[in-house]
Symmetry: C5
Subunit: 154 residues, 5 copies
């Protein structure tokens, strides 16, 4: 039984964890989900470390939605740096699912994007955990999570 | 008996620790507060580490008020990076409560914002320590500490 | 038998791993290649750590293609920082082969550049692993991987 | 007998260590000063680590004067990041005393500022080492080292 | 017998290691030089760590010449951050000798600058290793490596 951690925030304006859990459960079995909600994205690195060390997770999804201001992007940068550091300390993957508020034209598109990116990254989590050979087959294909794929060059 | 550390600075222009302690004591019991004041925000990471290791704290609030100049924002970035690193070394939460001087229109609003953000984050500390399920219920709700909540999209 | 890890992404728009493996096999023997594909460049640091620790690699190539937006460059910076940290934790080389989409005028040049940079860095990997004295002979020569060499000053 | 380390540079254009030592000795007893001079500010983090580990210091002052160019500010950022990391590795305070050349209008003011900031931070060092309760009394008072205090809001 | 490591790159457009070795040998005895050449500056941190751990060096010079593009400056920042981290992991000095291509007006000046900075930092290495008291005497003197000294203020 694999253990998938989901760390998310009260700051985010969309419940991406719900989309992630739904997608995970629609596409795989043999795992258990452990949720952990923190206030903001800068609280995510230690939340993920706790999910690895105190909840024995095999992989974690870190869901966040940085605001549109320069200070928000700074926070996202600090959070991402901490998430990479956490992965290196634990030698386990954290799939970062960040949706920037200014990636979308309006609230409707933002909700669509958050749902879709969370779902597409859930499939990455399943592949990393159960079918790594699937990712190898898609290497260099210009895949994107959320908006449409860029595709391979030419 | 839980131990809540509060690290703050002489640089800040408002005594956020007073607000934090008042809010903590008005909303919970079963904890003890340990104060530690340092000169500036870049001294906060090691102050928090000392609160964890030498004072045996379970969680720490790091209170700071970066100035409005570019070098102040650089300091805030360095402090935040160090606070995340400290959390990962100790596997415990530090709730960063930073109020930027240029977030407010004037001194009066700055004082209001500092008080309010410190209080709202104190409630997060109580939830993380005693009622983590409360945060899970508020995941993705677009909560903000200080100014009003952004709310969920659409 | 040396073990060369190749970590790459599904985000990249060109299969640089294919070029790298072809070049390695055309120029050296006595090694085995271990592939590991992850979604994006920020997943590369822990992928490389896993290749070192779980697959016992002696050196790793980290192949990535950051997009043209500011957030993509931020991701590349975070990934590079993590790759350096990984090397220091493992005391082994990771040869970073990043091709920025906006380095090339069009898709055709981007494909050419990705292929060529992957191949030229494969030769660096062979030298680091089997013939470090070759690199010492080329110290200060203004070599470039991909576009033409800058050459020594004057 | 406490041990106070002072790390400084040949790059700085003012001998801040002299000011610091004078101020320390005018205001406290029961300590010994250990000097260590390095070329530039990026050499300070490991100098401080050596003062902690090889000279058994209880606290260190890191004195530096970054130049006015963008690359100098980048160096200051890297040095500060390293100084925070050092503190976290040793769980001891480093009081960073950096004076930026472009903070002052001319050489005369720069000398005044360097002397004054070094002296005021020396008092912080004494408080951290011998009278931490003094700092707690000044929390949130808007204190500044060098130029005049900002004071509390309103 | 002290061991001085010299890590350099094939990317640099001038053989600074030659200048450094010549200057070291003209000014001191009782040491052995160990060369290690890598492709680019981001490969320097782990090269230095290997020189410390696998070649038992007492100090290392890291020689590099970042290009003039923004991405090159980003690389230099990442490399510098890694070099500081390496020093903290090993508690030994790495003297970073970076010459930016755009510091010089033309190739001739660039070659002059690279040679001179490498030589002047070689003297710093000798002082750190054999005569630390020489550096203490020059504290706060506004020394520069390469171009002329700024000198003390006023």
């Amino acid at each position: 039984m694999k253990r998938i951690g989901i760390a998310d925030t009260t700051f985010a304006r969309y419940d991406m964890a719900k989309s992630a859990v739904d997608e995970l459960q629609s596409n795989a079995t043999g795992f258990k989900v452990l949720r952990y909600t923190v206030p903001g994205i800068k609280d995510l690195p230690v939340a993920c470390k706790k999910l690895f060390e105190e909840q024995d997770c095999d992989i974690v999804m870190a869901l966040g939605m940085p605001g549109p201001k320069p200070v928000d992007k700074q926070c996202a940068h600090e959070a991402s740096t901490g998430l990479i550091q956490t992965q290196l300390m634990c030698t386990k993957h954290i799939i970062e699912v960040f949706v920037y508020e200014d990636e979308a034209r309006d609230g409707k598109e933002l909700a669509w994007l958050a749902d879709r990116r969370a779902r597409e990254h859930s499939l990455n989590v399943i592949d990393l955990l159960f079918h790594p050979e699937n990712l190898a087959r898609k290497a260099g294909k210009g895949l994107r999570e959320g908006f449409e794929d860029a595709g391979p060059v030419r």
